[in-house]
Amino acid sequence: MQKDAYLRRRPANAGVLERAVTDPDLELPPRFLSWFVARGWAPRRHQLELLGLAGVADSLLIAPTGAGKTLAGFLPTLIELDRQKKRQGLHTLYISPLKALAVDVHRNLEIPIAEMGLAVRVETRTGDTSAARRQRQRRDPPDILITTPEQLALLLAGPDSQTLFSSLRRVIFDELHAIAASKRGDLLCLGLSRLRRIAPGLTATGLSATVRDPAELQRWLTAQTTRNSSAALVVADRGAAPDLSILDTAEHLPWAGHSARHALGEIYAAIKGAKLTLVFVNTRAQAEYIFQELWRRNEDGLPIALHHGSLDVAQRRKVEEAMASCRLKAVVCTSTLDLGVDWGDVDLVINVGAPKGASRLAQRIGRANHRLDEPSRAILVPANRFEVLECRAAVDAANEGAQDTALARSGALDVLCQHILGMACAGPFDAGELFAEIRSAEPYARLLPEQFDAALNFVATGGYALKSYDRFAKIKQTADGRWRIANGRVAQSYRLNVGTIVEADLLKVRLVPGGAKPSASYTGPLRRTGRVLGEIEEYFIEMLAPQDTFLFGGEILRLQGVVENEAIVSRANADAPKIPSYAGGKFPLSTYLAMRVRRILAEESSWGALPGQVAGWLDLQRRRSALPPADQLLVETFPRGGRYYLALYPFEGRLAHTTLGMLLTRRMERAGLKPLGFVANDYALCVWSLTDVGALFETGAMRLADFLSQDMLGDDLEEWLEESALMKRTFRNCAIVSGLIERNVLDRRKTGRQVKISTDLIYNVLRRFEPGHILLEAAKADAATGLLDLERLAGLLARAQGRTIHKALPRVSPLAVPILLEIGRETVYGEAQDETLAQAAKALVDEVLADSAPGRPELANVSRLGNGRPKPATEPRLRESASPKGTPPDNAGRRAKKPSTSRRASGPRR
């Protein structure tokens, strides 16, 4: 592939070059300058500015895709290496977030080195590098080493890190925006602080796409030894404005759902008209669905491929190669193709569904026409009416170049624990010195001494108040007060478990022949011969019962069973999968986009830019109820089918809404309001109950302000956390990252299944006996921004205080229709335990009454039995347990419910 993404052709006006030549500080050596000229290129302003900063100060380069970021990062290194008389050891470390990107960058860097005839040795080191090569790299390091954050952590924990890095002059962080505000970024920044200690003269350079607040990244790149230390900022010129549009469908725009089925014909036509299209979707399930449906329409036999993180690596590589060699017409993909790797001549990006964040959209748009001077072309395809608003807000933001605000966060404590152990593996350390070093990393600049001590104690003996593990300590203090590892096994185990990415537990999906083998009576072992199709999240498979069908890799598969870490499946001759999907949008709506959506809703003047169907819908809402004002919370109450509904429109994202739903139903239950269930999406939350809550607000029997008061984040929250499956999953991740639980045990690989069971038990015991333990603190901090999104919920409740509008309506409002349509589609996992058990127990009673239930017994039938409206007079237990969580009792259950009838897919052509 011809890669000219670094550099653009010499523009008609070569002003940049002239300026470069006249400014002595920004001059390229002749050898380099002539190379540029020979290629017909001109160095860009930002490339020269970065060169001027090399060796002088840490720097952050912000440049859009296609602006030549990578070469800008390497130029100073290449020039310095060219000047130096004799080899000095490792000169530059280049850190890339993706293995594939590292390989790509290495390949592209070899081009200028070869063409200029530079004596520079570049090597890559990733998880795929052979052990022998890694050994050799330590002994005889290259000039430039291209690697990943995890490999850096491993190198730093080695006993020879001091000698390896002492010659280091520069560190370059690619795609810094994608790493910095995460646990991976925390570990990387701690690594940087250690590198500085080993090689005090080094400078760090960050390469980043446009971000809203560069100051954060500037601080990240610099040692926080004095207040306001921050890297110099270089901003490249913006490229051509993107050519962005929202699909103005001729079809009826759906009220709810994420399938975008209505627009598939139009998407197909757009693909046909373009050279190579990337179709971005938000979830794997959506990707599967769109892929399948496109093939159903594919009368022209266009080469359309599928790419998502669950597919087998070999299969993904095949798709990438086919893209690069222009053998494809379109690729349906998830965020796996979001980041920098550039595989082909993409000229159109279609984003199906809402982009969820302004920055994410900008990143995806950048995939089209990877050249700065040409506008990227992108079409947004909203899947429902709310998504139209969100797409509108995102397009406006992109046109203004506006970005999401990264949430301010402090470094994760579980990552800190892992790092401390790594540093002990590198060699004995003095606690005070290590504390100072850690505080020089921006995420940990405000770390308290007691937090550091807690982390140190955790690493040593688990950090419990009950000091019973002292004699088993992993790290011990020697006579001189320094900490060292107790034995070699500790270091070995650290190396096996390094890293902060805890993948969802994945099961291999293995296709066994013989979908015809249906017999429920067959009880022998499942056959394990057949090829592996890819990997799937364990929690999705956990939701299925054997013989359930689902979509994977573009096919409808039937689950036969789970054997160890494999889901055994066979091809199903089904028209439609029984389990349609497992989540709506994976990413919650960003705070910034949410704010813009609220603004669009509130400003009628902006509706002109919306499709007629949507403007009409909003107008109807305005007349029937009210539009949610930009700075107030709209609450509607209305009766429907013998139930009372309460709809809120906070626009704070699905995660925060789900948490609020959990807490509200809990609180309503305690107040005797008989809540029956709730449903949440990115925009709204709807709770229904047997009591007319609206009337209570009207008569003043209950105040809305009390109902939504912030104190629910106190006891209600604590009580819910006790049993929340989401919280347990969060805790599990912290337990793994911190090293409490080892992902990989020396001899045998402990599967995720075993780990999970034990972390739930650990969580229960720890919460009860030592609620202040560092791991619970870490999990709480994760929950604030992670799966529970407590931070946004807290903001929402604070904003709502005294600023709520209540509309008591005689019937459902237009705005509430989409959320009501989602009832029964999404289950809230894990929270309805006893209800499920009670259902099953009830089935027993039913079975006794009619002991001749036909067909194969399975709970699918059972839950249908249990789905009749509860009869409170005769079934007290059922009524009680049919209370708040999950789906409503009057709704067809997930299993009983057929997916939309129109999905009569015949499978993709092969």
Partner: protein, 239 residues
Amino acid sequence: MRDAARKSPQRAAALPVLDAEFLADPSGALFWPSENLLVVADLHLEKGSAFAVRGVFLPPYDTAATLAALGNLIGLYQPRRVVALGDSFHDGGAGERLDSGDRRTLATLQRGRDWIWIAGNHDPAPPAGLAGEARGELAIGSILFRHEPSAARGRGEIAGHLHPAAKLSGRGGSVRGRSFVSDGSRCVLPAFGAFAGGLNVRDAAFDALFDGEAGKPVLAHVIGRSAVYAVPHRLCLPD
């Protein structure tokens, strides 16, 4: 079931084995009212510290948690006799690692009642210096208490060892919980220990024990938040 539930604030459920009317308590224990006898299986005391020896620092509170739960039960039922069905201690070193506070708690629980340590594969003998009587098995009438269920002598057998857990699926997704398994002729108890995991009741290990010869349906008595739910074994899902 509902009648039995009324007798106990914890909503224990009837679980008859042959002619013995047991109550299945939602904490995972069996109570035998007519004998005033409480049965718990697989306490696995000091499992946390057993891991700590290998450098995995699980919270050192599992013994305290397990004993606290046991204390609640003893307070509730005031049994004259307690039978611990084996694997009461996680390993041979458990007695040495047992914290003095936990040791005292255990002694308090044992005071004033008979206490029987049935031998398990993890603890062929209880740690030295503890009260209670160590036995291989215990027979009372037609009921036989032992650690590991035997395929051959099933009638009237109350055992542990297998840590049964059942997985069920319904509208709210699937749920996995500790479970008793019984066919009215024998019963396997769930593990009581705070750190004890579970084995799916659909595992082959249960097939040999519950082959339908008892003539009655095999039920999983699944433990919920505060109640025990009886579910046909065949409706339970494999993992």
